[in-house]
């Protein structure tokens, strides 16, 4: 299983969602699909048809990742919103 760490602002949009989730997937895109199965609509908050949303960063085991990046059993995936605001 791969452990996914989700941002607080995201899980606030989905009642019952948790910050740490274990999923079975082989790519970052697959991770988002699994999250969407659990909480319908969550995928759309993190990506659109073009790719990851511009201010959403994903790291796999500490390395910057894209939708096609592979994830392994035991990997940790961090979903981190960019620093912004005002």
């Amino acid at each position: 299983m791969t452990t996914v760490v989700l941002p607080r602002a995201l899980i606030a949009l989905f009642p019952g969602a948790e910050r740490r989730v274990d999923v079975d997937a082989s790519t970052v895109a697959g991770v988002l699909d699994v999250l969407d199965d659990e909480w319908p609509g969550m995928r759309d908050r993190l990506r659109d048809d073009v790719g990851l949303r511009p201010h959403i960063n994903v790291f796999v085991d500490g390395e910057r990742a894209g939708l096609g990046t592979a994830v392994q059993p035991g990997s940790t995936v961090h979903v981190i919103p960019a620093i912004s605001g005002g």
Binding site: A9, L13, G41, D44, R45, D48, V50, S84, G85
Partner: protein, 357 residues
């Protein structure tokens, strides 16, 4: 049965709901709702009993929020709200309008989406985005956005929309094909003042009880159409400035409409720092300023395109939100005003509902 008066205030940081009784004398405020997303439009659909809020978030993208219990609980969706993998991306939702059992949403980058399941899923109304004039559309300071949706009250196949800066369009076949509806609008920012598209329409409103009379606050003037937007006539000569963003129609009197003239060119705030809403009672032939209760000194505030609304009580209420977070209300058709909320985030939209209970 008692009635509740609700005012939905979309802001840069969430939706707020003000509530009063018919007297509209004292108000309670709820919010911020919608997880403090930027909310550009909110509207209550009495047929479905659903409150909709249109907006977006810099991280999480566009969505239409919906609440079955007047804002107590919410869900949200943008499923299907896409132009495909080649883009452009859709960043936020600017308008949401229920009518004829459907829901339409206007988005940035400009386009129209339709939902037939109460906002759970969306489908692109391609006919508009594929209009031959599309290469000539350009964004203004507010982006290339579809901000105004006016359903025809009787014919579900007819609808007007407005895009900044492309102009007004109408469909008569349920969205399959569209025609520009900008004849008579005079722009002062392009070499050709009367192009077919390229117009910065700020807001349109249908006259009460009418099917072919519309009012428009344009970038440089206030216009009226009596032929379903086929042609527009300048009716703003009685106003101190042709520039403004907001436009609201009276709920019952077709000749009555409200605008908020702002300084043209620079500033785009209340003229001379003195706040006023202007009202016509005769379809734009004459206009009168309404100031009682509005600040008349150092009021360098603006009112954005969606930030004025009316309620359907008699006398009608009028509500104006500023881009600096003040909400002013009139319970007597604009004759007198009162500040009913202050220190809100910048206000994007103001809309109302009257509900029993």
């Amino acid at each position: 049965m008692s009635q509740r008066v609700l005012v939905f205030v979309g802001t840069k940081k969430g939706l707020f709901i003000l509530e009063s009784d018919r007297a509209r004398a004292s108000w309670t405020v709820r919010g911020p709702l919608c997880e403090e997303w930027a909310i550009h439009d909110a509207t209550y659909d009495p047929a479905a009993g659903t409150l909709y809020a249109a907006g977006g978030d810099a991280w999480f993208g566009p969505a239409v929020w919906r609440s079955p219990d007047l804002g107590a609980t919410w869900s949200h969706s943008s499923a299907g709200m896409t132009y495909g993998e080649d883009g452009p991306r859709i960043t936020t939702v600017w308008s949401v309008v229920p009518a004829h059992g459907m829901l339409h949403a206007g988005v940035e980058e400009a386009g129209l989406f339709r939902s037939e399941d109460g906002g759970a899923t969306w489908a692109h109304v391609r006919g508009l985005t594929e209009h031959p004039s599309r290469p000539e559309w350009f964004g203004g300071n507010g982006g290339l956005i579809l901000h105004t949706i006016v359903p025809h009250p009787a014919d579900p196949d007819r609808m007007w929309v407005a895009i900044s800066a492309a102009g007004a369009f109408e469909t008569r076949d349920g969205g399959a094909t569209w025609e520009p509806r900008n004849r008579g609008l005079r722009n002062d920012y392009m070499p050709d003042p009367y192009p077919e598209v390229g117009h910065c329409v700020h807001k349109m409103a249908l006259a009460a009880g009418e099917t072919e009379i519309l009012y428009q606050q344009y970038h440089g003037g206030v216009y009226r159409s009596s032929d379903g937007a086929a042609t527009w006539v300048d009716v703003g000569s009685g106003l101190p400035s042709g520039f403004g963003f907001a436009m609201a129609a009276h709920p019952r009197d077709a000749g009555t409409a409200y605008v908020v003239p702002l300084t043209d060119g620079v500033g785009r705030h209340m003229i001379d720092g003195r706040a006023a809403v202007w009202r016509t009672r005769d379809g734009g032939a004459t206009w009168h300023d309404l100031r009682a209760g509005l600040p008349q000194e150092r009021a360098y505030v603006g009112v954005l395109r969606e930030a004025m609304g009316t309620d359907r009580l008699d006398p009608a209420g009028v509500y104006v939100g500023t881009s600096t977070g003040q909400l002013y209300a009139s319970g007597d058709e604009g004759e007198t005003w009162r500040l009913i909320a202050d220190l809100l985030p910048p206000i994007w939209s103001v809309d109302t509902a009257i509900v029993d209970g």
